[in-house]
């Protein structure tokens, strides 16, 4: 979840699509989507449908952190130790 939080925080306030988020975090779809669902249920992530960029394409879901998610991401970045990230790059 921390990788997703960090990726969304880096892009805030812009939104990011699911596939790009996969590439940015290195997570597979089988890990990313359950995380996004849980984070959305906890009010950390908001999603929005974006108009398709090319004709014939379906609208895509884009994600960004809510105020709660932003606060959590800031906290994780400032104090990685409390999130079990003492060795991680800040």
């Amino acid at each position: 979840m921390l990788a997703v939080l960090a990726a969304l925080y880096d892009r805030a306030p812009q939104r990011i699509h699911g596939y790009e988020l996969m590439k940015q975090t290195g997570l597979k779809s089988g890990s990313l989507y359950p995380l996004l669902m849980r984070m959305s249920e906890r009010g950390l992530v908001s999603s929005e449908w974006c108009e398709p960029t090319a004709p014939g394409r379906p609208p895509r879901h884009a994600y960004r952190l809510t105020a709660t998610g932003l606060a959590l991401a800031r906290e994780a970045r400032s104090d990685p130790g409390s999130f079990g990230l003492s060795d991680a790059k800040a």
């Binding site: 699509h17 596939y19 089988g30 359950p34 609208p59």
Partner: protein, 210 residues
């Protein structure tokens, strides 16, 4: 090649997401098009399938679907396999030592050893065919249970019960030995207990959701 596998896998994943996760299913579907263009379609589709299966126990619709699959794969099809194994081993003729064990399990009298002679040997083909139809019926029943088609499942159960009663009557007449119908009778009992319970749970769940 992988596109031909990825698409049905993705379809399976989207079908398993359930109505309360339909927005997430649509989101996955849109990203699948992008992943396919990038050459990641297959791994993306398998990831989505994993997600769909992980999510199944988390919502009522998924739990009901899971229960239907467990009933079909864990009860009905193993019973069909057991009956098929019996048929393979020479049903309705049960070798005396096995007949004795089955009779002792079912607390039936074991005094008479069944014998085959010209008269009752002719009945074996008919009884075996009837049991084969019963096995085919169980496979169809498993499909109806998975599909939650309770009317057809009920009709199939009634036909199965009728076939088992016919087996019992004819076996009693032809072989004077009922050990060969113990397993079919147990199958009917398990079916009659489990499927109506599952149907009631399913209908209660559907009413509660509505």
């Amino acid at each position: 090649m992988s596109v031909w596998i990825a698409r049905p896998v993705m379809k399976l994943a989207l079908a398993g997401m359930g109505s309360d996760r339909c927005e997430w299913a649509a989101a996955m579907h849109a990203e699948f098009a992008v992943a396919q263009e990038a050459g990641d379609g297959l791994s993306f589709a398998f990831g989505c399938l994993t997600t769909a299966w992980q999510e199944l126990p988390r919502h009522a619709e998924g739990r009901l679907a899971l229960a239907r699959y467990i009933c079909a794969l864990g009860l009905i099809l193993p019973v069909a396999a057991l009956l098929l194994a019996g048929l393979w081993c020479g049903y309705p003729w049960v070798e005396p030592p096995y007949a004795g064990e089955i009779a002792s399990f079912a607390r039936m009298p074991t005094g008479m050893v069944p014998t085959i002679y010209a008269g009752n040997a002719a009945a074996m083909t008919g009884l075996a065919t009837l049991l084969l139809l019963r096995i085919a019926g169980l496979i169809v029943l498993a499909w109806f249970v998975v599909d939650a088609d309770w009317d057809r499942a009920g009709a199939m159960q009634r036909a199965g019960a009728a076939a088992t009663i016919t087996l019992t009557l004819f076996s009693a007449v032809a072989f004077a030995d009922l050990t060969c119908v113990v397993l079919p009778l147990l199958a009917v009992g398990a079916e009659l207990l489990s499927i109506p319970m599952l149907q009631r749970w399913h209908e209660d769940g559907v009413v509660a959701e509505a």
